[in-house]
Symmetry: C5
């Protein structure tokens, strides 16, 4: 589990709250009506901007941002190369048993299509469409947080404008000027906090997760098509290694050598 999202969030929140506490009077930063206008208003506009079932799925999207693991690309290459070897030795049908053990639904379906003898063009067409639509769904989840990141500062400013207008109409008591303005600014603070401490980083992380998942699926498609074409397992490995960043390629080679030695012993 990649904890960067959680650690980063805690770090940012603690430092901002620390900055508040150091200055004294943290209670001044809690204002329920301001919270309603800024955060509630932002949520309202975000609900407006999205279909209901997408709003309901926000928890799942957040979970992906906070807890999703990076796909195990090395394991994936090893699995696909071993499938390529098996298919070469025993034929494509021999892969049928292995599919049931696969955790990943996309990979399971890909192998199943190949085992079923589907036309390679059609396999590629189906899987590419699937990846494209996965990207669209990821983008839709990310877009919710982008909308919030755009609207939160705007609702913060709306709240501040309301506060300013009310304050400016009652300048008779100059002592109330400062606190009135302080209250007015709290909505701007809330809006900026919601956007920059939560929504923008979450949106960026979702983009990273989506790119990782799409890459792993593209690796699967490349591998499955090569297996279907009956390519040499060595070539399959060469093709799939391209998808790994350089450091992972070294890890893969090391593991292979270790296995090789292990076998020799």
């Amino acid at each position: 589990m990649d904890l960067a999202t959680l650690i980063g969030l805690l770090l940012a929140v603690i430092l901002v709250i620390g900055g508040i506490v150091v200055g004294g009077e943290p209670g001044a930063f809690v204002n329920f009506p301001s919270l309603l206008v800024t955060v509630g208003g932002t949520f309202g506009a975000t609900i407006m901007a999205n279909p209901m079932e997408r709003i309901r799925g926000v928890g799942k999207v957040l979970r992906r941002a906070f807890f999703a693991e990076s796909p195990d690309l090395i394991g994936l290459v090893q699995t696909l190369v071993s499938f390529a070897e098996k298919a070469r030795r025993e034929g494509l049908l021999a892969l049928e048993d292995d599919t049931s053990e696969l955790d990943d639904q996309f990979l399971r379906k890909s192998i199943q299509l190949v085992v079923d003898g589907t036309d390679p063009e059609l396999v590629k067409g189906i899987l590419d469409t699937e990846i494209g639509l996965l990207e669209d769904r990821h983008a839709a989840g990310k877009q919710m947080f982008d909308t919030m990141a755009e609207l939160a500062p705007a609702f913060g400013m709306l709240g501040t404008l309301i506060g300013l207008i009310q304050m400016l109409r009652n300048l008779s008591d100059p002592d109330a000027l400062g606190p009135g303005m302080a209250v007015a600014l709290i909505t701007t603070f809330y809006g900026s906090f919601l956007a920059n401490v939560i929504c923008i980083p979450v949106s960026r992380k979702l983009a990273v997760r989506s790119a990782e998942e799409v890459l792993s699926r593209e690796l699967m498609v490349e591998g499955v098509l090569a297996i279907q074409a009956g390519e040499n397992p060595r070539i399959v490995e060469e093709k799939l290694k391209v998808f790994l960043p350089p450091q992972l390629r070294d890890v893969l080679d090391e593991e292979k050598n270790r296995d090789g030695k292990g076998e020799e012993r």
Copy 2:
């Protein structure tokens, strides 16, 4: 009917107005000349930026943002698979009767083209152009709200500048300073409200609706072309299921199993 747009709008409006009422003097936020400059000016500039018939169609665009239903993708897959089965059993001409019962004009036209024996390349060309131009028309509707979202804060600022300049020339009465500035800020409030509470969420929702409709039409094209090519209904279903998000695929499988069991009984 997807009520998210309406619910979200009500939530955002109520919270912002609530924030005004809590602070007292809601009457201070109603200023007719400010409304004319900001909202009227924004409308004027938006009329400038668009051809007349597009301005006239704004009601239809708003209705789509507020009341359009998400297309029933599951029903669509079932319809197309049943057509594929019928076409296989009884030939393409047998579909002619079914087209008249279809609500969707695009699907009706697509099937009609196939029944008429139009060349597959030509069918694909016509339908793809149709979808591309549909997207363009959707984008044109959305663009009206984008223009308003861009111009409303600018007209709000224009109004505030006018108010400020007038106020600054008459500083002799310091008691008028606050209220004068309050009035000047109201146009900024109006502009920001129009942009962030209405135009931006509506524009985002229109984008979602457009993407949904385009996806459903792409599903239709994929299905109709597969039917024309005489493909196996099982393959047709496989191809079309790709267009469904994972949760809908499960629903489709469940319904199929239930139907299957129902038949067995």
Copy 3:
């Protein structure tokens, strides 16, 4: 003639000026040196950013934004379908006489190429390049107004900075503070007015006009190529109808029915 640009401009200008007059002292908003810095400076920088002959063509571009008519797509479809019928009956050469009667230079040239027996690939290549470069020229005209829309507020702010700096150096007379600041803000007002009331809406309208013209030319290319290929006039009409928005298709069908009935009488 589409009057939306003019009507919208008048509406926006009248409302903004109305907002000024209601507040009293409209004379305070006329300041010649401020006008020179903001509007003149913006023009200077826009001249810098463009080649001379493009600056000279700005009148033509403005005329397109204000007075250009939407192309008559229905008439175009009817013309092309009638050409397709004639070409089928009497051969492509028979179209030569009709070309001289065509107002549209692009259509005339397209038909001429076909009549001259030019290779279809070459016809398509020449016409596609022509449309692409037309889009580029339209974009260049639009870009002038985009540049002005970007620079006008910046020059407005430059003027306000100049005014502020001069005012701040002479704070000895507090009575001059307000009016000094009022004058400083006038340039910001001018810059924002020029950008948001004129340049942005004009730029958006130019984009709409360009898209309309490009669409009508793409319709012509589709039609001319179909005619050259000797396609069935019914198919040609089917292909071209795709370019019409749904409401225009109904109009086309109505006119056709009326003509049909007329003939029957």
Copy 4:
């Protein structure tokens, strides 16, 4: 030589400086430390953002923005059409003598490739790559000014923040408040001036120049390939005329008619 860049710059600079002089005390706008922070800081960050040799080439880029001529498209069409005629009459090798007289290196190289009997696919590949990389180099030059246009206002604000912080710590002397703030604002003025009066217009002009040059090279490639394919000079002219804007086509036709008449005399 297109003087628009120079004329526009002078106009903008004179109007802004005029605005300063009219307000009196132009000396207040000259502040050496402010200049160092804003302009020097912007240059430093721009050097950071670019490789050394690109920084060294900035003079060449500026010269292109200020003094480059628009390519003579008409002359180019005439040259290429005359080459097409010669090649038809005397063979491709006959063009060898003409290449040495060509000023343009790209055209010379293109003709040379054709004379050398290089494979047409390869000629097209080499020339297209060349144009693509030319665009990249142009974009790199433009990007320097874009970076400066982005950073100059930021460094201006940094300077103003420095001035404000220093001023606010010494509020004991209220008479120093105004002038202190005036000095603080001068860096914002410098940053905005550098960005909007110089960098943005130069960047836009560079984009125009790049598009013009790329267009003229695309015209050359089209012409050279047509010559290599031995196409009819009339067709070559038809193909190349497409690259001219409508008004230049008329000029070309006029010149041709005049030449024709001249020959007849």
Copy 5:
């Protein structure tokens, strides 16, 4: 080693700090809590937005921005042309010995694929995918600095809002107003400094480095494929020279002439 990044950074930092020192009281610009909120908060949010292993690789990314050398394109062209000559004379297998001497892993792998007799389509596929994924990894490194450049000013503003709100609640002591506001503004200064003096220039430099490296790899692919196709070394050189900017082509020709003369002596 390209020192522009270091020199530019020093220049910008010295000028900004100089601007601070000239104004007196540089100590006022050091404030530890402000630093924690702005820089620490920005780091926290950036950690949130990225997977852990990418955060760990930030040092490597920074090193590339500061110390990476531009690839030696001339040497590369010479190497590939010499390989082309050798392959023509002695066959592709003769290149095997040379690969071990190559520093560049990508080039070594490319040649190895060719020597192994891999199918040309496959070589191109593998190398293109490799370049595409290299670009993605570069973009991911750059994106970290883009995120920081976006968030740093936002966290600066958050800190300033905190300071302002605290100050406005305690207006009883007017003497504390100025210094309180000064402290509040320091976070804005930090945020703007971090974004504009460090993150934006680093991000831009990373983009330049990435483009250079991608170009050099595209040159390698072009060369290796030409070698595999057994093309004439003169043609190979012609093809590869296209990738050099004009000044480097002259250098290449000079070196060649010098070598030629050297040989003649």
